[in-house]
């Protein structure tokens, strides 16, 4: 059977494929077809039917819809559970410095301060390094080193937050206390930013850990963005006699700048929500002070620390409102970053995960 069917195919091949290629309805092809093959009959029998096709498409749409549903569900759940606190404090919640579970008075300003300052410091530390590494890997690095080094920098992203925290508590904190702290105090103490006593745990140590954690995000995405700059741009700069750095500056960085800003904002978004490692090394004390050696507290770490101990509905509701604020802020920050990255990489299938 099979042999008989497959032999005549070559003679009729040319006209048939042209017809069959874009005709979805199998019945329409039928009359023109040569003796139908067994395989084709089998597949038609199994796969024809609008019901299966529609059902499958519907299922896929449902899966896609679930992503919207998840976001809406999170918003709804957070709003519903923080109503108590929203009604009790209103906008003052974000301007008040008091955090007093005993008397039931809650304000989130110290946590906002801690989150914003530690994240910005981390970004300030990570961005120059990340851009240098991206440039190195893309423009300078010899081919044989490129794979291993980019793999190693990506490994940094694979280390879980809690392991960074563990390392931070037992390795980084003592180094910050005994080695880095005194040096910073000696040379930069006059700024008022680095004043003893330094216990090792505090805003500065948290920023260093955060910088290590967000570095791979900024580096890999800015690399993706730089990669889509056309080679012709580079060649044009080089042909005009530019040195390598001038070429990087004129054609790569200038063309990719919007996407690079996007990658930095993406890193910022990561830093804003980072929980475990920060909670373990920041000292967890809700104070607004200029001294970076002093302990601080962030939005994410107050939730992690106090959620299961929250006594009373108002306390819990205040913590959930902090979660809501964190959620909305990171959504906005990420949306902006994605739009910027997309503006550069659109049309290219650059990985943005």
């Amino acid at each position: 059977m099979i042999e008989q069917d497959s032999i005549p195919l070559p003679q009729t091949q040319v006209p048939q494929t042209v017809v069959a290629e874009f005709v979805e309805d199998p019945a329409a092809v039928e009359p023109a077809a040569a003796p139908p093959s067994v395989i084709r009959n089998f597949l038609q029998a199994k796969s024809s039917g609008r019901v299966a096709d529609g059902g499958f498409a519907g299922l896929m749409v449902l899966c896609a819809l679930s992503i919207f549903v998840i976001v809406l569900l999170i918003i709804w759940v957070l709003v519903a559970n923080s109503k108590l606190s929203i009604h009790a404090f209103g906008w003052k919640f974000f301007a008040s410095q008091v955090w007093d579970p005993v008397s039931g008075d809650f304000g989130a300003l110290p946590f906002i301060w801690g989150t914003v300052v530690s994240s910005l410091l981390a970004v300030a530390m990570a961005v120059p390094l990340a851009l240098c590494v991206a440039i190195f890997l893309l423009e300078i690095c010899p081919q044989f080193l490129r794979g291993p080094i980019s793999f190693l920098t990506e490994l940094l992203a694979a280390i879980p937050s809690v392991v960074y925290g563990l390392w931070g508590v037992f390795v980084l904190v003592p180094i910050m206390r005994d080695n880095v702290g005194p040096v910073l105090e000696k040379y930069l103490g006059w700024t008022g930013l680095f004043v003893e006593p330094n216990f090792g745990v505090g805003m500065f140590t948290a920023s260093v850990i955060l910088a290590i954690m967000i570095f791979p995000v900024i580096s890999s995405i800015s690399r993706d963005v730089m990669r889509v700059v056309p080679v012709s741009q580079r060649e044009a700069a080089l042909a005009l006699g530019a040195t390598r750095w001038e070429m990087i500056r004129i054609s790569v960085l200038r063309n990719a700048r919007i996407g690079i800003v996007g990658s930095v904002i993406l890193g910022l978004g990561r830093a804003l929500g980072e929980t475990m490692a920060v909670t373990m090394v920041i000292g967890n004390h809700p104070d607004i002070v200029k001294n970076l050696f002093a302990p601080a507290y962030t939005l994410a770490s107050v939730i992690a620390n106090e959620f299961t101990e929250a006594t009373g509905d108002l306390y819990l509701s205040a913590l959930i409102e902090i979660g809501l604020a964190l959620f909305l802020v990171t959504i906005v920050v990420n949306a902006i970053a994605r739009i910027l990255v997309w503006a550069v990489t659109r049309g290219d299938t650059a990985r943005t995960a």
């Binding site: 069959a20 874009f22 979805e24 199998p26 084709r40 597949l43 796969s47 299966a52 096709d53 059902g55 499958f56 749409v61 899966c63 896609a64 819809l65 992503i67 919207f68 999170i74 759940v77 957070l78 559970n81 390094l129 240098c132 590494v133 440039i135 190195f136 300078i140 793999f151 190693l152 920098t153 490994l155 694979a158 879980p160 809690v162 392991v163 960074y164 925290g165 563990l166 508590v169 580096s219 040195t243 390598r244 993406l266 929500g273 980072e274 475990m276 994410a300 939730i303 992690a304 959620f307 299961t308 959930i320 979660g323 990171t330 959504i331 970053a337 994605r338 299938t349 943005t352 995960a353």
Partner: protein, 296 residues
């Protein structure tokens, strides 16, 4: 011919020297930063192996935690607990994620709905994991009135969906259109084409994506704090609080006991080994992938 400003040889030389200098400076800086960046990686991994390996023993894998003061004890319940939570998360998150990815690549490409879903998935990817913990708490724990492995699994599943969806979509996009058209040409229905042709071709890449998503949530602690909650005892009941490796590391790291610190390092080494093995496998898998370089 208009007169050009005459530059002295000296001026020319200075300019050239300056350009060369900045060129070399940037090269040196970027090499230096690459080395600087690799230091914490080596420091973290080195410490883990140094501290963790000396604490790893048979009891670590076979025994449950013992009360403070007693030596010995292990994290057997945490390893099993993590496995259960991750199984729940994968069972829920991966099929939905793949489905969403299939929609984005095969049905919704170019439509505003598809673009919206893709954008939302990307944004959801950046939402802090602790928020997922609160969502899991409010959705399940608050209703059931007790912590449970199920709630932890749901929180992690929510985190897996956008990652799996986006990688599935990207992998499906690397399947050449001619392959699909060939299937349609044979009169095969679309659903069948997607299942047997597109998904089949992109399978190595999709498995890679799923393993990456798995590795990412395997180390998550924040979403489990008030969902799975942790458990000092042996439990495999999905409706009860359950131990998890990252949670146990967190609790032990912040405890004041040297014995527990030792166990925290050992736990971290086991956790990272699991994650590194899967990431490295993915790397090998991906570089061998049949669909590499098959854009459009």
């Amino acid at each position: 011919m208009p007169a050009l400003p005459v530059r002295s040889a000296n001026h020319e030389w200075l300019l050239k020297a300056r350009r060369n200098f900045s060129n070399h400076l940037v090269t040196a800086l970027s090499i230096l930063s690459t080395i600087v960046v690799l230091v914490p990686l080596i420091a973290v991994l080195g410490y883990l192996i140094y501290k963790g390996a000396s604490s790893l023993n048979w009891a670590f894998f076979t025994r449950v935690p013992v009360p403070v003061g007693e030596t010995g004890g292990g994290m057997a319940n945490s390893i099993v607990g993590s496995g259960i939570i991750l199984a729940i998360a994968s069972l829920m998150g991966i099929p939905v994620g793949i489905g969403a990815g299939v929609y984005l690549a095969e049905y919704g490409a170019g439509t505003w709905f598809g673009e919206g879903v893709r954008f939302t998935a990307d944004v959801l990817n950046g939402v802090p994991s602790i928020v997922m913990g609160i969502a899991g708490y409010a959705l399940i724990v608050a209703n059931q009135k007790h912590f449970s492995a199920l709630a932890g699994g749901v929180a992690l599943a929510i985190m897996m969906v956008p990652t799996v969806a986006r990688t599935t979509e990207e992998m499906l996009r690397t399947v050449p259109h001619a392959v699909r058209e060939a299937a349609f040409g044979l009169g095969i229905a679309k659903w069948r084409t997607v299942l047997s042709i597109s998904l089949r071709t992109a399978m190595p890449g999709i498995i890679t994506g799923c393993m990456l998503a798995f590795a990412r949530v395997a180390g998550e602690t924040a979403p489990l704090l008030f969902t799975a909650f942790g458990n000092q005892f042996w439990s495999t009941n999905v409706n009860q609080p359950i131990a998890a490796l990252p949670l146990q590391i967190y609790v032990y790291a912040l405890s004041p006991y040297d014995e527990w610190h030792r166990l925290a390092w050992a736990g971290a080494l086991v956790l990272i080994a699991m994650i590194m093995v899967s990431v490295t496998l993915v790397r090998i898998f991906a570089s061998r992938g049949a669909i590499k370089g098959g854009h459009h």
